[in-house]
Symmetry: C2
Subunit: 445 residues, 2 copies
C-alpha cells in the first residue's frame, strides 16, 4: 500500500486531516502504516485513533511493535487497550511480551482473569488451547429460535463470531451446533433442539494445530469447538486463525526441507546467533556424513591415479543425482503433507518413480554421452562409464527419494526430514560406488 499522503500530512503536522483519513481506513492497513514509522512517531499516530479502532489496529501490529508500545505507555493506558482485545489476541500478545510488560498487565487484571490467562499460557504453543478464543455465543436446547436470536443480539457485540453458536447443557457439555444461517432461515418459533446439528466435529485442547487445520480444510468450517477432557466446551477456533496456522506449518516444512530447524520469527527480527543455531546442527551432521563419499573416493585412489579424467565428471554426477532425488522426495513429501499418499501406496510410488526415472534418465544419459564422446572428445570407455553411471544414479536417486519419505511417515518421523539435503548426501555416496564399479568393469581399471 502507498502511504505517501499520510506521511506528507504527518510531516506537515496536519494531525486533524490525518486522523480523518485514518478513521476511514481498515485496521490492517493502519497497522501496516505504523510499522513503517519509527516507534515514537507510530505511538503518536496510534494515539490519534478512536478507542475501538486503536484496539483493532493494536491486534494487527507485529509483536515487536506491540512490545515497543507497551514499554512506552503507562499501566493505565496499556490496561485499557489489553482489556479490549479478543481473548485469543490477548494471549498471543502476552506470550510475546517481555516479563516486565506481562507483570504490568497481570497487575491490572482481576483474579479470575489472571487465572484464565495463566491457564491459557500453559497450553502447548501449537495446541488447540493456545489458538482458541473464549468469546463465543452459547445457547440452550430448549430455547426458541426467536429467543436465541434475541440472545445473540444482546451478547453478540463482544463475540469473535456469531455465525456459529454452541448449544450446551448445565455442565457446559456441548450438545449441538447451530449456525446463524440456520437460525435466520428457520421458523422463529422452532426449538433449537430440532434444528441443531448433533453430529458435532470438535477438537480437544491438546490437539495439534496441524490436525486442526486439516479438519478445517476437510469440512470447510468457519469455526470449530474446543472441548476439555470431560467434553465441556472451553473455546472455539475461527477460520481466520487457521489461515495463519496453514502458512506457519508450510513455513516449518520449507525450513525442515532445507535442513533448518524451524524458525517462528520473521527473518529480520531474528538474531544472527539464533539464525546460526538453527542451521548449525544439520550442516555439521551432513558435513560429517559427506565424508563417506570421501572414503569411497579414497578407496579408489589408484583408479583415479590411473585416469585423473574420472574426477572431471564427479560434480556433474553428484549434482544430477542429488537433483533427481530431491525432485522425487519433494513431490512425495508434499503429497504426504496434503494427505494424498499413505504408507499403503509405497509400492505404487516406487513403481512410478522407477518408470519416471527411466523416462528422464535415458535422455540425460544420451545427451551426456554425445557431449562427452563427440564434443569433448573423451574415449569411448570413459564416455560409456559416465553415461551408464548417470542413468543408474538417476534411477537409484528417484527410488530412494520416493521411498524414504514413505518409510519416515510409517515410523512417525516427519517426512520433511527426508528432503534434498539428506537424499543428496545418500545419493552422492552411492553414485560414486556405481561410478568406480563401472569404471573398473568398462575401463578395466
Amino acid at each position: 500500500m502507498d502511504f505517501s499522503i499520510l506521511k506528507e500530512l504527518l510531516d506537515k503536522h496536519d494531525l486533524i486531516r490525518l486522523t480523518n483519513i485514518l478513521k476511514t481506513m481498515r485496521a490492517a492497513d493502519i497497522a501496516e502504516f505504523l510499522e513503517e514509522l519509527d516507534h515514537k512517531t507510530a505511538l503518536l499516530v496510534f494515539r490519534l485513533l478512536p478507542k475501538d479502532l486503536a484496539v483493532n489496529v493494536f491486534s494487527h501490529l507485529s509483536s515487536q511493535r506491540q512490545s515497543e508500545f507497551s514499554m512506552l505507555v503507562d499501566e493505565e493506558e496499556l490496561a485499557s487497550i489489553v482489556e479490549e482485545l479478543y481473548f485469543d489476541d490477548r494471549i498471543d500478545y502476552i506470550e510475546e511480551m517481555p516479563a516486565n510488560v506481562v507483570k504490568k498487565i497481570l497487575k491490572n487484571s482481576s483474579e479470575t482473569e489472571r487465572r484464565l490467562i495463566n491457564q491459557f499460557l500453559n497450553y502447548p504453543e501449537d495446541s488447540a488451547g493456545s489458538l482458541m478464543t473464549i468469546e463465543f455465543v452459547d445457547l440452550k436446547k430448549h430455547m426458541k429460535v426467536r429467543d436465541a436470536l434475541k440472545r445473540i443480539r444482546e451478547i453478540g457485540q463482544d463475540k469473535e463470531t456469531i455465525y456459529t453458536c454452541y448449544v450446551i447443557d448445565e455442565e457446559r457439555r456441548l450438545e449441538g451446533i447451530v449456525s446463524l444461517r440456520d437460525l435466520v432461515l428457520a421458523d422463529p418459533d422452532a426449538i433449537i433442539e430440532d434444528i441443531m446439528e448433533t453430529q458435532i466435529i470438535y477438537v480437544s485442547t491438546y490437539d495439534d494445530q496441524e490436525y486442526i487445520a486439516d479438519v478445517f480444510k476437510k469440512y470447510g468450517f468457519l469455526a470449530l469447538p474446543v472441548v476439555d477432557q470431560e467434553r465441556r466446551l472451553v473455546g472455539i477456533i475461527t477460520v481466520d486463525d487457521i489461515v495463519d496456522v496453514i502458512e506457519l506449518e508450510n513455513t516449518e516444512d520449507f525450513h525442515k526441507m532445507a535442513a533448518i530447524q524451524p524458525l517462528r520469527e520473521s527473518y529480520l527480527d531474528t538474531s544472527v546467533f539464533k539464525l546460526a543455531s538453527k542451521r548449525m546442527l544439520w550442516l555439521m551432521v551432513l558435513m560429517i556424513s559427506a565424508t563417506i563419499s570421501g572414503g569411497i573416493i579414497k578407496k579408489y585412489e589408484s583408479a583415479l591415479e590411473a585416469v585423473v579424467a574420472l574426477t572431471v565428471f564427479i560434480p556433474m554426477l553428484m549434482d544430477t543425482g542429488g537433483n533427481a532425488g530431491s525432485q522425487s522426495s519433494t513431490l512425495i513429501i508434499r503429497s504426504i503433507a496434503l494427505g494424498e499418499l499413505t504408507f499403503k501406496d509405497t509400492f505404487k510410488v516406487i513403481w512410478k518413480e522407477f518408470r519416471v526415472s527411466l523416462v528422464v534418465g535415458l535422455p540425460l544419459a544420451i545427451v551426456n554421452f554425445l557431449r562427452v564422446y563427440f564434443l569433448e572428445g573423451y574415449g569411448l570407455a570413459l564416455s560409456l562409464t559416465v553415461s551408464a553411471t548417470l542413468l543408474v544414479t538417476v534411477i537409484f536417486a528417484k527410488i530412494v527419494g520416493g521411498l524414504l519419505p514413505m518409510i519416515a511417515q510409517k515410523l512417525n518421523i516427519d517426512p520433511a526430514i527426508m528432503a534434498s539435503p539428506l537424499i543428496t548426501t545418500i545419493v552422492d555416496a552411492i553414485s560414486l560406488v556405481f561410478y568406480f564399479t563401472f569404471a573398473t568393469w568398462i575401463m578395466g581399471l
Copy 2:
C-alpha cells in the same frame, strides 16, 4: 477415518442400515469413504443417498471419481446432480471433465446458463473469475434492515454464504457491504445505507489468486466481492476456497524450489510421462550447467595428478556449500513469499547472512580441520587447504543464497527458482575455484 463398519454392512448387503448411517454422516466423510471403493460399488452407495446429501458428497469427490460417475450415469441423472451444485463447484467440475461429459452437461443446460458457463470457463485458471461463485445475497441501500433480513430468508437457502451481503445500485455496481452480523445486531428499522461499509475491498475478475489469498490473509475476511471493469459486481469468493488456494500456491513453491515445473494433479493421478516431463527440463539444464564444475577440475588436472588426495574432499566441500546456500535461499524465498522482505532489505539480508556464515562456518572449518589432520592423518597443508576452502565456501554460499532470491524478486522473476538446485550448481563451481586456488597457494602446486 475408519470405515470398517460401513464396509461390513456393504459386504452383508445390508443397504438399509448402511443408508441410515450414511445419512448421519458429513458429506466430506462420505466422499472419503466412496474414494476407497471401486467405482461401481461407489456409485451404488452414492445412489443410496438422499438428493441434497448426494449433491454435497459429489462436490467433495476427486475429479477422477466425478469423471467415472459421470460416464456411468445417464444424461438425466447427471443433469439432476450438476444443476444442484453451487456454481463455482459446477465450473470446477466441468473444467476437469472429458469432452463427452461436458457435451452431455451443456446439452441439458438452458441457453443463458450455457453462456454463463462458457464465460466462466474463459477466465484464466488462477484468476478471481475462476474462483468466484455467483450465488450471493444482493441488497439495495434504501432497504430497511427488517426487509433485508426478510429477503435473506427468502433467497438465502441457495446462496453459498449469507454472512456477507452486497449492496448494489441499478447498474449492479457495488455500493456497500453489510454483514449478517451487522444486520442481526442492528435496529430492524435502520436503513441499510446507514449501516453498510462503504470502504470496500474488492478484487477484479482477472486478479491472480495469489494476490487474492494475500488480501484474505491481511484482512481476515469470510468473503470478498469480485467486480468487472465497470465495477459491476459479478461474483464473490469465499474463505473456504482460499484455504485451498493457499495450499496450492505453497505446493507450487515446493515444486519450483525442487526444480520441478509445478504440478496441479495429485501424484497418483498423474501419468508417468507427465511426471517425467515436469522434471526433465531443469534436470537437463542443471546437468549441462554442472559441466562448468567439470571444466574447472579439468583445468587443474595437473594439481590433481600431483595430489590425488585432493579429490577425496570434493564431495564434502560441494555438499556443505550446497546445503549452506540452500538454507539461506530457502529462508529468504519463504520470507519474500510471506511479504516479510522486499528489495529494500537486500543490504540487511547480505550483512546478516555474512555474519551468520561466520558463526556457522568457523566451527565447521575447525571440526573439519581436527578430523582431517588428527583423525585421518593428512598433512598440515592439505588439512588447512580443505578447511580454508570450507569456510570461504560457506560464506560465499550464504551470501549468494541470500542475494539471488532478492534480485529475482526485483527483476520480477519468481524467487522460488533461486532455490537449492540452482544455488548448489553455482556454489559447487565456485567452491572448486576456491579449493584449487588455495591448494596452489598453500600446498604450492
